[in-house]
Assembly symmetry: C2
Homo-oligomer: 204 residues x 2
């Protein structure tokens, strides 16, 4: 039997700092360990024929953290984005590129690159910044990002933390207790199996 | 030890139709069985000192259901609103009152009534209708509704279904598998105990 698959999945890779502390590292060293899992998940989505994936890099809220943490998560995000683009993702970086917190290396991805699987990578993203597009008389600043079918979060938190609130209005929400650096393909399996059992009403 | 309490809780009382069918009734008869639990939950929130509660009545999406269902859930919503106001809630009804689906009896509650616990009751509400306030150059149409700390949903669904997406950006999300008409005070206990164990970062 062919399972009902989500077209567009959102990923919230949380728990890097808790993973670092649990593994005897200082908090900021957790982010680098999220990179290889990110690329593994990307390839797993592509293999399964997922059309679009949105991934939380960092938010404007996150930039209130210590400068050493900021430096490390910016670096991890730049590496992930460049590696995903190199592997052929149709990459769009969504976030406030007018702020100094936005990595200059990613400015060119504010327009989507050519590729196959659409990857929307949220970098210096803010839900309020996103809505400001409406206030300015246009569309959402994330208008190129389609409606989410499923949101998967690692690290046990049962909240969106500002993740694409408008695209997520009808999304099903699946939570994994493991920290993000402990990602395994079985996590995605579990999320997709669960999703296939949910009814889809789109609010009706 | 005094537990950390949410100031503002959102309630999504889902599962009325499934409850009806499971109890040998036709779907539309489930809504009336949601009324007494709603008033019990209201009194429980007041007793515990919750400052503000937002409750899903029905949405613009829901009005696509059969006319017999529409008639029944509109009636249940009118009864709940009038009873809550009579019991002294500071009631605000939030929804599109320019549509024929909005019950005329509730128009006067588009301005908040005098009372103690703030109750925001979503009637003919739509997330897109809410955002239209921003598009029109003002604030959200739900601008009087504060940020949500916790959202509790009955009926097993792990989704917001368009429930106050902007107020919910940082909310913790607790799901109860029982159908809404089977509400018991232990459900609220479970949600509050769980909430007290979550860290609060507001996206930081």
């Amino acid at each position: 039997m062919r399972e009902r698959m989500p077209h567009h999945i959102g990923f919230i890779p949380d728990g890097n700092r808790r993973w670092a502390v649990a593994n005897g590292l200082s908090k900021e060293h957790g982010y680098a360990y999220g990179l290889a899992p990110g690329l593994a998940l990307f390839e797993e989505c592509r293999r399964r024929g997922i059309g679009e994936a949105s991934v939380y890099g960092f938010t404007k809220d996150n930039t209130r953290r210590t400068s050493v943490q900021l430096e490390h998560f910016r670096e991890a995000c730049v590496h992930f984005a460049l590696a995903a683009a190199e592997r052929g993702a149709a990459l769009l970086v969504v976030g406030d590129d007018e702020s100094g917190c936005f990595p200059a290396e990613l400015k060119r991805f504010r327009r989507r690159s050519a590729g196959d699987i659409r990857v929307n990578f949220l970098v210096n993203y803010g839900w309020d910044w996103d809505l400001d597009g409406l206030r300015a008389g246009g569309g959402l600043r994330s208008a190129e990002v389609s409606r989410l079918d499923l949101v998967v979060r690692w690290g046990g938190g049962r909240r969106l933390s500002g993740f694409l609130p408008i695209q997520a209005v009808y999304a099903d929400f699946f939570v994994i207790d493991d920290y993000w650096p402990d990602y395994r393909p079985a996590h995605l399996d579990a999320a997709l199996s669960w999703y296939a059992q949910q009814d889809r009403t789109l609010g009706g």
